[in-house]
Chain length 243, copies 2
DNA sequence: TGTTTGATTTGACCATCGTCAATTCAATTA
DNA sequence: TAATTGAATTGACGATGGTCAAATCAAACA
């Protein structure tokens, strides 16, 4: 794990660019001071583990730059990639709020700069500012809604439909927001990780991509994806969706 | 929907038997008064819908007696049964806390008695009592952890292993808590609903049950299940678990 | 430029599981 | 008791998608 490096990025919570996009936006100056004191900045290189499934919760992580993947692995080594965490997102709050050990692990997928806020600080802030709790409640509840949707999708949709859905989500997050017409964007993930996001194997992922190309739904060159018509992708996911 | 029936069950939040097991246990008398005022009791017969996916959130439901199933259904009519809600559980809080419409529907599976607390009341309580928010945070966060685990299980385990796991969960909730030796208990669900809890079809459910019987793992007579040795069931779910 | 290494793709195979249709079972009612 | 109804089971079939092994590709490096 790389050491703290105050040269780049913001020096503290007051000047942090990401703050307005995080839960902390509801804190007043005194509370920000507390937050800042309970804070420690860390840097990770791709592949480095931020926390492991089963580890006791160390606090809440605020991602400043880079990208983190949240994975859950079973005894046989099978795993799913549950979340991609990007700047402005918080990480590790589920375990903290549930009062549990981590039930998933977090790994840097790119060079990543993160602040860790220790458990007592977060707990104290939560106990004194109901608005912060409400913020987290909203976040966790929406996340639960998404997880439940994923359970339904995985149970009822084909690999191809799930992949179409994943592409739409990734476009929404990493691509330009043109709702129709041709779209081009960069996948932030390897084939292996794409596969584990939709609960399938790299082999099936490959074949699905190939089939989609031959059907003219999308073109893949390495991590670059070209989609001639977004609407076609939507119909892959919702067969009865009409324009 | 049956009308309010004050003859049976508790008359108000102060005398409610279930209260100590709910989030409301952190409220003081003044807050309980408010809760009680924002409350309305309803009764439902099996099959009756308490709320529908897409409906605007009406509040938080407290289950006093009976049982409710929370289902999520897609455009093609495929559905999964996400939760079984039993007395002392709360229902519908996810949508309320996320500030969303319901993203699943709730249906009475047995004759059921529920209190509804309207949105403004819950919101007011949450804004003034951080402890209540923390309670809900814990509940939603643990629920999210379980949902994420389910995503992993559905992606990596066979129907049979998932069913073994479901049986263990149901035994833990509805059976006697003997950790070893023979166990007998009543399934609270039809074959169809068992299937939709693990994301499969009634046909596959039937065949899985048949296979488990012929393997001596369990015996099924209608809704009565007899398990000669719990540990065998655990091994179905975790093949490398050792005694 | 050749080599190494890991990612990706392809091929071959087949197990699991979903689908559809028919049958059996069980509970309720005429 | 016979008839009705919906749930559960069984059979037959095939598609989807997983597994394993081999081949190919691409990036980093000597």
């Amino acid at each position: 794990m790389a050491d703290q490096n105050p040269e780049q990025g913001s020096l503290n919570c007051f000047t942090c660019q990401a703050r307005e996009r995080t839960e902390w936006c509801v804190l007043d100056d005194a509370e920000l001071e507390l937050l800042n004191k309970g804070r420690l900045t860390r840097e990770y290189l791709p592949g480095e583990i931020i926390f492991h499934e089963g580890d006791p919760c160390r606090g809440v992580f605020c991602l400043e730059t880079g990208m983190v993947g949240v994975r859950k692995t079973d005894a046989d080594g099978n795993s799913v990639l549950l979340y991609l965490v990007t700047p402005g997102d918080t990480l590790g709050y589920r375990a903290m709020l549930a009062g549990e050990d981590y039930r998933a692990s977090a790994e840097a997928l790119e060079p990543t700069r993160i602040c860790v806020i220790d458990v007592p600080t977060v707990r104290s802030l939560l106990e004194h500012n109901p608005a912060l709790g409400l913020r987290y409640l909203k976040r966790v509840s929406m996340s639960l809604g998404n997880a439940e949707e994923k359970i339904l999708h995985n149970a009822t949709l084909s690999v191809r439909a799930r992949f179409a859905h994943l592409l739409l989500v990734l476009i929404d997050k990493y691509g330009e927001k043109s709702s129709d017409g041709p779209t081009e964007f960069e996948l932030p993930l390897s084939r292996h990780d794409l596969a584990s996001m939709i609960g399938t194997t790299p082999e099936s992922m490959s074949r699905t991509i190939k089939k989609m190309e031959s059907d003219g739904v999308a073109r893949f060159a390495g991590r670059t994806v070209h989609i001639p018509e977004i609407e076609i992708l939507v119909q892959e996911f919702e067969p009865d969706h009409y324009v």
